[in-house]
Assembly symmetry: C2
Homo-oligomer: 128 residues x 2
């Protein structure tokens, strides 16, 4: 957790997996964003199988004085995890941390420019 | 399945989910790539919970005369699904369809330019 006082935080929320290496791309993204947004505390949290859980991460951020927390779901698409489990987690977090403003960004698969980037990469990478 | 004779195919391989809407971003990517690569048959296949399965998709492509098949795993990171299950599936496909050349692209989370696109989107999207 960052020791410099920042009021805003970005939590990259990923699924989690049994294989520790699975988290590497998310850690790389976290590092890249943290470097380019020194005004933000940038953390990584997981739905399951990896630590910290989203709830523990947000609790720590609030404890450290963050009042604006943005959750970015790093998921390619929206299924039960984002439609059911995340809203439940967020409702619980809002109830527990009423003083913090918690907002959510769309998942990767709902962002046109990211789908375009994936499509362009595939167009360029498939053998001709 | 495309009725025009093409020898090369690209299979977008996604996890699958119970929620039918989950597949929408992948269908959008498939459509975008198919439009921009008319030389390729572009299909979508799933690991579980959705149809077609990768094996059925590849079998149909081979039956339709495709001799070069590229599998693109649309996964953000590599865990057991890509390290264990996909190699097993590919080994089985190669054994069943010896005449077809089957290759695999890296998953999204191993592609620097896609991680950069995700990072940049987060840098621009997190509130200031």
């Amino acid at each position: 957790m960052n020791t410099i006082s920042k009021s805003s935080a970005l939590v990259l929320f990923a699924h989690g997996a049994r294989d520790a290496q699975w988290s590497e791309p998310f850690r790389a993204v976290r590092q890249a964003v943290a470097t380019r947004r020194p005004d933000l505390t940038v953390e990584l949290a997981f739905l399951e199988l990896m630590q910290p859980a989203l709830g523990d991460c947000v609790a720590q951020l609030v404890k450290d004085g963050h009042t604006r927390i943005t959750v970015a779901p790093l998921f390619l698409a929206q299924g039960g995890h984002l439609k059911k489990e995340l809203p439940r987690l967020l409702k619980d977090l809002s109830a527990r941390h009423g003083a913090a403003e918690i907002t959510v960004l769309p998942p990767i698969g709902e962002v046109t420019e990211l789908l375009d980037a994936i499509s362009t990469w595939l167009v360029d990478s498939a053998p001709r």
